[in-house]
Amino acid sequence: MADSGGNGGTPMLDELEKGPWPSFVTEIKEIAKDKDVGKALLALLERSYHEKIGHWKHGGIVGVLGYGGGVIGRYSDLPDEFPDIAHFHTLRVNMPSGWFYTSDALRTICDIWDRHGSGLTNMHGSTGDIILLGTTTDELEPTFKELTDSGFDLGGSGSDLRTPSCCVGPARCEWACYDTLNLTNDLTQHFQDELHRPAFPYKYKIKAAGCPNDCVASVARADMSIIGTWRDEIQIDQAEVKAAAADGLNIERDVCSRCPTKCIEWDGSTLEIDDVNCVKCMHCINAMPKALRPGKDRGATILLGAKAPIVEGAMLSSVLVPFMKLEEPYDDLKDLIERIWDFWGEHGKNRERVGELIQRVGLGNFLEAIEVEPVPEMIAHPRENPYVFYEEYYEEDDEGEGE
């Protein structure tokens, strides 16, 4: 059997330095040049590769003063063999909206992390945070201090609001139907307390996509998915449509026949869209970005409930508000969020995501509780089973009332 990674190098990990894709092993080795923690991580990982098993234990409760979230505690299950990474906690640092940086900002983070941690990061975590990967309990508070001194703060973890994230939006995308960066930053600032001090039944994620292409996968990965859209007509530049056709795009086959409601027609010279039946899927616009643009009456669809499979099965978010204008100070949205949190806080079970709660109490009851009128846009189709909880019925002596 090959070396188990103790002191005999890392033959298995070395295999992962081969090939064209940038190598995380090379990244760790780079760190290992200067830091024992890097060497230890390499050795532990090599061992995992040999044994086909991880060597980390459940994290205890570690964090920074006054915060409940933002740090993931992590301990090795071989602390005696690998004392340098006996503690190996991560900090989740709230990224700027849209993941924009200046080189200076990045260097500031690097400086702090080189001083206080492993020097390893994830740019970025799946929720969107800057992940500072691996430090000891003692270093948490000093790292936090330097971060806040430089204008950075921690993100969410545990049963709190998780770090909201958004697509690049109006910063670089012509299709953004509202200002994803501004909204995300505004909500994050507005809900700092909910972000840092876990007081919910479970996690609550918000993701903001500027249009139905959903480039932050909000519909699959956020309890609240905010997806830009429009209500009026797609803007058409007929000359550019012709240019696209001349350029070789088969508009009939590749655009019209792929339209989900078949509401778009091309007769070889004019493109016509029956906007009443357009479901704003973006396909035709995607296919002809120079010729077509979303309409001018823009806002967003608010959807609720996505989550990973544990426990009740995975969910995609479902429509809560078919269309909402999103303009500063976003009071309608903030009110809505608070009404949702109130109800969830009161009725949600421990570790019950809001999507699971809705399914448990029924969307109809949930809507009543948060004071939103039911509309058919919220459902794929009306119920198929006749098990209706009719709420009102006549008593013998009150014929005429009820209903």
Partner: protein
């Protein structure tokens, strides 16, 4: 409750994004008109003003040390006035105003070992998770498998043509932090042995919480060696590890039986077909580090079947919708097994409830 007297800043939130936007973006913010893909990994956004913003997208392993981040910062200084960003799939994007800088930047990036690509109809970076590098729950490594799969599919990142977007994601356990459940191709670490109950469970866990955590009610309270503990009806365990999430004394990892599964046909965009979950393609592949050849072969096979058969813009799930699942299994040569048939709570809705069948 503060223990120190020095002033301590909290709840300042993230830095305002505006501080990090290059001038051209500030000027054209919300006023972009259209974009064009110029070549693999390079696109231009044109403002209503006529301004042009060039984006060069580079591969990233996501797990990066500060030395590499400093190098990216240097490149940003050199070519883009110090501005860059990361994408929702963890690639790095350089934001240029001077077209002439594109090729030198690409050359420098390639020199650093970071290929340029992933824009348009391409296979972009794999969204993934911690694996053996940092998580206690992992049934496989994350970064290692991703490295092997992207090595293998590298051409499709750098420009080899494919019919539409293809999104791959990996999660190292059923918690699915990579949210793989809506990917064209998902790689999912799985356990296949019930948790091993450790002595002293009552010292670290609340038995009622543990019992409640099991979706299949496979956990019952029990007294073991005089102490409160639990017993597990192994027949009813489907290895979700939710019990382990609430109780460290129930470890799931098992070198012999942990492995990976492959899922296909999910998507999240609303373009054409509605968002949808990925479906099980391959129930089990072994953990075979360091290069996981069974996984890379399986993914490549599915990718190639899609490339050969899909129409323009057709995502994996749309392609399978058109040809039907029986054909998908036939074309990929994947054996259809009992495991493919759903038996969780919505199972009945996945049965074929019609006589619309392609014979033979």
């Amino acid at each position: 409750m503060a223990t120190a007297m020095e002033p301590r800043k909290t709840d300042i939130g993230p830095p305002h994004y505006e501080k990090f936007l290059p001038p051209i973006i500030k000027q054209n913010y919300g006023k972009w008109k259209y974009h064009e893909i110029l070549k693999p990994g390079v696109m231009v956004h044109v403002g209503e003003s006529g301004d042009k913003l060039f984006t060069v997208r580079a591969a990233s392993p996501r797990l990066m040390g500060t030395p590499k981040i400093r190098k990216f910062a240097e490149l940003a200084d050199k070519y883009c006035g110090g501005y860059l960003r990361f994408t929702s799939r963890n690639n790095v994007e350089f934001l240029l105003t001077d077209e002439a800088n594109i090729d030198p930047l690409i050359a420098d990036l390639q020199g650093l070992g970071h290929a340029v690509g992933g824009i348009g109809n391409a296979i972009s970076n794999i969204v993934h998770t911690q694996g053996w590098v940092h998580c206690h729950s992992a049934a496989t490594d994350a970064s290692g498998v991703v490295k092997c799969v992207m090595d293998d599919l590298h051409d499709y990142f750098t420009g080899k043509e494919i019919p539409g977007k293809l999104r791959i994601a990996l999660a190292c356990c059923l918690n699915m932090c990579g949210a793989v459940h809506c990917s064209d191709i998902a790689i999912l670490g799985i356990h296949r042995r019930p948790p091993k109950i450790q002595g002293g469970l009552h010292k670290v866990c609340e038995v009622p919480n543990v019992v409640a955590s099991c979706p299949t009610a496979a956990i019952r309270p029990a007294t073991v060696d005089g102490a409160q503990s639990v017993e597990i009806d192994e027949e009813n365990c489907m290895f979700c590890a939710n019990c382990f999430s609430v109780c460290p004394a129930l470890p799931m990892a098992d070198a012999l039986n942990d492995g990976l599964s492959i899922w296909v046909g999910g998507k999240v965009s609303n373009a054409r077909a509605e968002p949808r979950f990925s479906k099980l393609a391959i129930p089990f592949l072994p953990n075979n580090p360091p290069r996981w050849p069974e996984v890379t072969d399986a993914v490549r096979n599915i990718v190639e079947v899609w490339i050969d058969g899909a129409r323009k813009y057709e995502r994996m799930g749309e392609f399978i919708d058109r040809i039907g699942w029986p054909k998908f299994f036939k074309l990929t040569g994947i054996e259809f097994q009992k495991e493919h048939i759903d038996d969780f709570k919505y199972a009945g809705l996945t049965y074929k409830r019609s006589a619309q069948i392609r014979h033979p």
